[in-house]
């Protein structure tokens, strides 16, 4: 089960859950699993960036997820 | 009335003719020397069409005469040209520094002390320097020319003593006596390109023993017009222009200042800094004067 961690400003949508685990083989699967837990959250999460095992993705979708993966949702970063 | 026009008189009489004819027809005219203020104003807060009367193609406004008794600087001579005149620089280093401080190298290629004076901004850098050096404005008009001390020329923010068909020909100074020195300092937040937050011009004369026998002190950007500060001059006269005299002169300038607070500085800041500038400028003028004792300049 991959570990998923939410930043504190998303806790409103997870009913206060900061950390959870999901069964998935890629990031798309993670989103689907989370949407089942908290309907509507997928739309929010698609607007955020995500770090999967330390690698930051702005537009993740097909990235593989291992059972021991750590997934952190985070703000999108743009730049000057 | 529609639209701008440009006139380029080549004589005093022609210039006055243009000004008179515009005045008679109710059309606005504006004098143009280097144009570094006029063009900016035309594009920002003052877009009303007018005749631009270019006065820099007249012999008198371009003349620089250095005599034993008197020095004349034409109103339209660019600052860069003045600063290339070694003789003038030796006589009035402070005045020329004030001209050199106006804007960039590019601006100095056009801007003149006559234009700076006629723009009549409270913060015009050359104005306190001219006043300190005892500059006399030479004004051409329909009835011939007239003269007035520089400190009387600027009458308010952006206002001066020029009548409708008059223009400034140039500035007259007494050739400085032996033992004289002048200086101008201003404060700006950067090293270049800013408008003065406060400025101080000092001209003084020392006798052979280093005692100050004459002084004029003028401050800028701390009142609607540049001010002559006799109290500051009195604090210097009769002294060796030592630390105590400098402090007293500075305090007199701070006391004389009646600044406003704006985007460039607060009242307290300007009041304090103008005193510092007077002190520092007086010390420079003193050192220059000491170097000039006994020698002709």
């Amino acid at each position: 089960m991959a570990k998923v961690v939410f930043p504190d400003h998303l806790l409103q949508q997870t009913g206060g859950t900061k950390e959870t685990t999901v069964e998935a083989t890629n990031f798309r699967g993670v989103l689907r699993a989370l949407e089942k837990l908290w309907p509507g959250i997928e739309e929010t999460l698609q607007k955020t960036a995500v770090a999967i095992d330390g690698q930051i993705y702005q537009d993740a979708w097909l990235e593989p997820v291992r059972p021991d993966s750590e997934i952190y949702f985070m703000q999108r970063i743009e730049g000057g | 009335m529609e639209g701008y026009a440009y006139a380029r008189p080549t004589s005093v009489a022609e210039a006055i003719g243009v000004l008179q004819s515009d005045a008679a027809s109710g059309r606005r005219s504006q004098l143009l020397a280097g144009g570094t203020d006029v063009l900016v104003q035309m594009r920002s807060n003052d877009r009303e069409p007018r005749t631009l009367v270019d006065v820099k193609h007249i012999a008198e406004t371009n003349r620089v005469d250095i005599g034993d008794e008197e020095v004349f600087i034409g109103a339209a001579v660019p600052s860069a040209v003045l600063n290339e005149n070694a003789q003038l620089k030796a006589l009035f280093p402070g005045l020329l520094e004030s001209a050199d401080l106006i804007g960039s190298t590019q601006i100095q290629g056009r801007a003149s002390i006559g234009g700076n004076l006629c723009n009549s901004s409270p913060a015009g850098d050359t104005i306190p320097a001219i006043i300190a050096d005892g500059g006399i404005c030479v004004i051409a008009g329909p009835d011939g020319s007239r003269e007035m001390p520089c400190e009387e020329f600027v009458t308010g923010v952006g206002q001066n003593a020029l009548g409708a068909a008059e223009f400034l020909l140039g500035l007259k100074f007494k050739t400085p006596a032996s033992g004289s020195g002048d200086a101008y300092l201003r404060f700006i937040p950067r090293t270049e390109m800013d408008i003065a937050v406060a400025g101080a011009g000092v001209a003084l004369t020392l006798d052979g023993g280093g005692t100050c026998t004459a002084a004029r002190v003028s401050i800028g950007a701390v009142a609607p017009t540049a001010l002559l500060v006799p109290e500051a001059a009195e604090a210097l006269i009769g002294t060796q222009v030592d630390a105590a005299a400098l402090a007293a002169a500075g305090a007199a300038c701070s006391a004389a200042a009646s600044p406003i607070a704006d985007k460039r500085g607060t009242v307290a800041y300007r009041r304090k800094v103008v005193g510092v500038l007077c002190r520092r400028a007086s010390a420079i003028a003193r050192d220059r004067a000491l170097n000039n004792i006994g020698g002709s300049q």
Binding site: V5, P7, D8, H9, Q12, A51, D53, G54, Q55, I56, Y57, Q58, D59, E70, Y72, F73, M74, Q75, R76, I77, E78, G79, G80 | R43, S44, R47, F187, P189, R190, T191, E192, M193, D194, I195, V197, D262, K263, R264, G265, T266, A268, Y269, K272, V273, V276
Partner: protein
């Protein structure tokens, strides 16, 4: 990727390919295009910081001789999906800041257009503005947008706070309880503008079938295309955007202001329309960055181990949500390895221009607060500020405050380089102060495309879609030359328009050399693969038996074939006979952008009688990853440093009580001039980014992050007390000196 490399092209400093055009005046920038029959467009802007727009009547302007078109908010599609950006381009029911566009005209000359603006009638109902972040967050504040709810939670009352973001770890209270020393800084940083020298400009034309062409100066023409389409309600395919050369952007040219208006005026008039902003418009209506109010608190043991840190950040977004407070929160503690922290950020609307990205958006303000606190902590502990940072430094394997674990990073190396730097080891001069601060930026990847086209003489044309804002064509040529194994001057890089190259995200976020560079490298690898196939066919051997080295195909060792190596030139010459033109292509969504850390330090001198601070020396040390063109890496470090120094010392938006900016020009918005600055010393640390074939991290953002705090800390050192707020302008400094003397 190993440390030492025998690169042939990378790391050299050749003249940039677009250089000659830029030193001779040939290069065409945003305002340089003139088309036959072209009109000039001008914008009417709100004289109020906050007002309801009751009526706009352009009929008198249209009636003026020489005026061909006029438009206002009602001429653009407006519905519930209308974006903030569209409303920023042209106000609809409300003008939200002084300078907000409310109408536009197109006329034969700019002068006529300006005069026509005076004839447009707008009926306003002025509203009280909210002008300051604290005021905007207070209970009962005037609302900029009555329909805005914090984090979209409509169950709560409307608020100016668009979003609150939080990052926490451990137990911050416990951490502070464990500390021997706790320091706190409460500071404000003013609104600053990117200050690019080229004002926004565009020319647009549209044909009878609704196909529009836009020429403009932008950091991202693909974004101009989609954003313009959105504002006009057109499809992306109907718009072609051709980027001109760009005269600076720093983030401020990543969004649009004029383009849809110019297209609309062109549509109305049937003629091309050019719009060029004045400098005053640039200041009043385009992308400044957020003014901020931040509090930073940090506690440590006597030995310097930080036990806890917390931060509270409030960022002005301007009239629409979107202050860079998220990146501010995520960067503020990035240099440190911490067990307990809490960070809370607020995105706050005020009646000021909508902020736009500015170089490392959000990080300079946040890190000014925390790096000031860290400096105070070092003083309290009696520790060297570098030693304190070394003791708490983030490293490979450290979990960043925003979640992920850092791969190889160069912060520790930057700190060590600082300690050894001659500018740091030399004693500071009498009466001067020295200040140190750390900087950080994530860097980003995102989407890029590139083509590498082999010409018949063996030269290579690289086509990509990122406007060259600071020498990126040279970097692309270097990476292509390195990959192909040919000399630099055999490669040219061309920035294509939206029709002649594949999609690229903006030139920004320090992504171009990294992500577009990756696409260029892959496109060149594609050429190599094809060349190897052509060589194999020529030699009648298997492609697996061909190597590529030094710009030529050679048989692999042991392959028994009687063949001379085939150079790129040889293969190009015969391409027609071996299968046709050779074209390499790549498109990427680049992952693995490498964070870039820095340490900056400054020596300053304070005139205690005028409050003026002179910067005597400034040193920037930064992990840039591999420096592809070191001269342009140094240039980024120097330029960012001076922007940061300007912000620290004199740059600020000054508003009157009605929300009117009082210093909308370079005369009183005081960017540094040449005589204000010393030489900016740089040291590039090269810890290669493992996610890029040549180890590129990206360099341009980080340099502006540390100078604010470095200057503040240096002033603190010189003065003997801290002035927390910026800028350290002479009146503020003198007042603080006087207050200190009175106390």
């Amino acid at each position: 990727m190993a440390e030492a490399h025998d690169y042939k092209a990378i790391g050299t400093r050749p003249v940039r390919p677009d250089g000659v055009d830029k030193v001779t005046g040939r290069a065409n920038f945003g305002a340089d295009l003139n088309l036959p029959n072209m009109l000039h467009g001008k914008m009417l802007r709100s004289p109020h910081a906050h007002a309801r727009i009751k009526r706009v009547d352009v009929s008198q302007a249209l009636a003026m001789d020489g005026v061909y078109a006029a438009c206002a908010g009602g001429d653009f599609p407006t519905n519930e999906r209308t974006t903030d950006l569209a409303k920023n381009c042209m106000a609809r029911d409300k003008a939200l800041y002084h300078g907000h566009a409310v109408a536009a005209v197109a006329a034969r000359t700019p002068y006529i257009a300006e005069r026509a603006l005076d004839l447009i009638e707008v009926e306003y109902e002025p509203l009280a503005p909210v002008l300051d972040v604290d005021e905007a967050m207070a209970d009962g504040a005037i609302l900029v947008n009555e329909n805005l709810h914090t984090n979209g939670d409509a169950s709560k009352p409307a608020s100016n706070v668009a979003a609150i973001v939080k990052f926490e770890r451990g137990d911050v209270e416990q951490g502070f309880a464990e500390a021997d020393v706790v320091v706190e800084v409460d500071c404000r940083v003013p609104t600053a503008h990117q200050g690019y020298i080229e004002p926004h400009a565009c020319t647009a034309t549209i044909n009878e079938e609704g196909e529009a062409t836009v020429w403009c100066c932008t950091q991202g023409h693909f974004d101009v295309r989609s954003l313009t389409a959105n504002v006009l309600g057109k499809s992306v395919g109907e718009i072609k955007v051709i980027p001109s050369e760009i005269g600076g952007g720093f983030g401020g040219k990543t969004i649009i202001y004029l383009e849809p208006i110019a297209v609309k005026l062109s549509e109305m008039s049937g003629r091309p329309v050019k719009m060029v902003m004045t400098r005053e418009e640039v200041f009043r209506a385009t992308g400044p960055t957020s003014a901020t109010h931040c509090r930073a608190k940090v506690g440590a043991k006597r030995d310097g181990k930080i036990t806890a840190a917390s931060a509270w950040l409030a960022y002005e977004a301007g009239a629409f949500a979107g202050a860079p407070v998220g990146p501010g929160c995520m960067s503020i503690l990035a240099p440190y390895d911490l067990e307990h922290f809490s960070i809370e950020g607020h995105d706050v609307l005020v009646n000021k221009p909508k902020v736009a990205a500015y170089r490392a958006p959000g990080a300079p303000q946040a890190m000014h607060a925390m790096e000031s606190a860290i400096d105070d902590l070092a003083r309290e502990l009696g520790m060297d500020p570098i030693d304190l940072r070394l003791k708490n430094s983030a490293d490979e394997g450290t979990q960043a405050p925003y979640g992920p674990v850092f791969p190889a990073i160069g912060f520790r190396k930057c700190l060590e380089a600082t300690k050894a730097h001659p500018n740091y080891t030399k004693p500071k001069a009498e009466g001067t102060g020295r200040g140190v601060a750390a900087g950080f930026w994530f860097n980003i990847g995102m989407q890029s495309s590139a083509e590498a086209r082999l010409s018949e003489d063996g030269t290579v044309t690289v086509v990509e879609g990122n406007p060259d804002i600071g020498g990126s064509r040279a970097s692309m040529c270097l990476m292509a030359a390195e990959t192909l194994g040919v000399p630099y001057d055999r490669v040219r890089t061309h920035v294509g328009d939206t029709e002649s190259t594949g999609f690229c995200n903006v030139t920004g976020g320090s992504r171009t050399t990294f992500a577009t560079g990756l696409a260029v490298v892959q496109a060149c690898e594609d050429i190599i693969a094809q060349c190897k196939q052509r060589a194999a066919a020529t030699w009648d051997i298997d492609v697996e038996q061909v190597d590529w080295a030094d710009g030529q195909a050679i048989p692999k060792p042991g392959v028994n074939v009687d063949a001379n190596p085939l150079s790129l030139r040889d293969i190009a010459k015969n391409a027609g006979r071996t299968g046709g033109p050779i074209l390499g292509r790549a498109s990427v969504n680049a992952q693995g952008a490498g964070a870039s850390f820095s340490v900056n330090f400054a020596d300053v001198k304070v005139d205690r009688e005028t409050g003026k601070i002179d910067v005597l020396s400034f040193t920037g040390i930064q992990d840039a990853g591999t420096a592809i063109h070191p001269a342009y890496v140094e240039g980024q470090m120097q330029g960012g440093a001076v922007q940061g120094l300007g912000w620290a010392l004199n740059e600020e938006y000054i508003y009157d009580e009605n929300g009117v900016m009082e210093n909308a020009g370079f005369l009183d918005y005081r960017v540094p001039v040449a005589s204000d600055m010393p030489m900016i010393d740089t040291q590039i640390i090269e810890v290669p980014n493992p996610s890029h074939p040549y180890g590129v991290r990206g360099v341009g953002e980080t340099p502006i992050v540390a100078p604010l705090a470095a200057t503040s800390n240096a002033a603190r050192d010189a003065l003997g007390f801290r002035i927390a707020d910026l800028p350290l302008s002479p009146p503020r400094v003198l007042e603080a000196i006087d207050n200190q003397a009175d106390a």
